[in-house]
Symmetry: C2
Subunit: 288 residues, 2 copies
């Protein structure tokens, strides 16, 4: 199933998750503004991805800000915002003159409270996004093959369960007017030289192995991989690198399952607080 | 004075700082290898900058890895390596198939011990680089206007004293075959929405103000700014952003000096260990 979320007028978007219906793509004005003065990825067309990687030190979480800085409205989205750094993120978005449209999660996190609910309470018209399979509340539910448009750029949704049942990977579009190389936001499915644990929240090492090999390792080798966490100070990897050097996922499936079954990790210290909160958008929002 | 360090055969480089003499540029083979599968900045020519930002959590220090991944030798350099993360950095360099040529510092750090000495003890032929004005030991001393070549790419040296007397900023080249937008590695001279303190190591708020305004704020507004530290989870800024939003350096000089004179910062906890060590390349190397 392929659905398209196209940013134009926010009022056309459903206000509640229960009302969600597939959207009809809407044509976007092609008025081109001057090139912005912000860190960005150019595309072969006039569209331009503004991209920022932001770090929350306590949980070692990366939050990603993406925007179409060439679009008149400069629509933006946040992937995996953290409650504690919401003010930092919103301040940056304001300074850069962006219009935040989506606050998205790759999955229901067990190690920090999502910032989506808090963001919705502070910025009107922002829609929370999560996978349908996550069973969490949100304004919009996505699944395999969906496209999430912001201006003339889009993210493609790939279902990558295994760390949790509802994990998804967001990948920038496969088209000549989309960023090259592509960027993939893998959540905890694939970490740099690692992967997320598979012993909670519907996790399955067998499923994670299949997800990474079928949905991430099949992307072009120069695809930039941006995970939800890094604990060693790495900021980015590539499909080519992980295909060659990931110490777990380069193994055959049986060896991988054996590795994952014998990690002997301690009980996640935040899980009993974070998961119930994240199932309802960080409990900051009563609606979603 | 403009000097050129050109990577070709390492044996042509001086082995000791005291022997340093200006180098004659050496032409480089233009054989182009296949595009690598690593995160990179493309240039308008065949050269390609491989770029990685690496983080050391304890001192919130960013180390930068740059390489010409299109060059047959894949020559690489590290800016501001930290002793504690040397093994991580060298492992990554090995995995990416790079040849480390230079281990460089933006200044004599007071908050962590540099990794340059340790790197030199582990990898042969690596040259340490620091500013002449720093009074620290190194294999190569650089100053305003020098160019540091790695393959067909180069960094330009800009003197940006004020945080310390010997602070320099490394900026990617201003030429059509160099990365666009340009990247500036500002050390502690300019931080994201901040700047380094000016009350130790020959610091001077007056000098810092002049340095930033004359050497960094004059760069194109889309120049990406990569500082030596960030404490709030930001990874990059731009000249345009800091010109508009830096809470200190957007002020007039007198106000800036007043701000810097009244920061009431505590004594740097690592300074008595780090500075003596960093003056001799992290004391890991007896030679430099």
């Amino acid at each position: 199933m392929l659905r398209l979320f196209h940013f134009n007028k926010l009022s056309i978007l459903p206000s509640k998750a229960s009302n969600f219906l597939p959207q009809t793509p809407i044509s976007i004005s092609k008025t081109i503004y001057n090139r912005s003065q912000m860190g960005s990825f150019s595309t072969s067309s006039s569209s331009k991805l503004l991209f920022r990687q932001l770090f929350e030190k306590e949980s070692s979480t990366y939050t990603y800000l993406l925007a179409d800085s060439s679009h008149p409205h400069k629509p933006a989205l946040l992937i995996d915002p953290v409650d504690k750094t919401v003010d930092r993120d919103l301040s940056l978005i304001k300074e850069l003159g962006l219009k935040l449209v989506y606050a998205m999660n790759t999955h229901v996190h067990a190690d920090h409270v999502t910032g989506t609910g808090l963001i919705k309470s502070k910025v009107s018209d922002v829609k929370s996004v999560i996978s349908k399979a996550s069973s969490a509340k949100a304004d919009l539910y996505v699944e395999q093959g969906d496209k999430i448009w912001f201006g003339d750029l889009f993210l493609e949704v790939r279902a990558t369960p295994g760390h949790t049942l509802g994990c998804i990977t967001y990948v920038t579009g496969d088209a000549s007017d989309q960023p090259q190389p592509r960027l993939a936001f893998t959540g905890d499915a694939l970490l740099i030289r690692g992967c997320g644990r598979t012993d909670f929240q519907g996790g399955s090492s067998e499923q994670l192995y299949k997800s990474v090999h079928s949905q991430i390792f099949t992307l072009p080798e120069d695809t930039l991989l941006y995970p939800a966490h890094d604990y060693k100070g790495f900021s980015v990897s590539t499909v080519g690198e992980e295909l060659q050097y990931n110490p777990r996922l380069t193994k055959d499936e049986e060896t991988f399952k054996n590795i994952m079954a014998n990690l002997n990790l301690s009980y996640p210290k935040m899980i009993d607080v974070a998961v119930p909160a994240n199932l309802v958008c960080g409990i900051q929002s009563k609606e979603s």
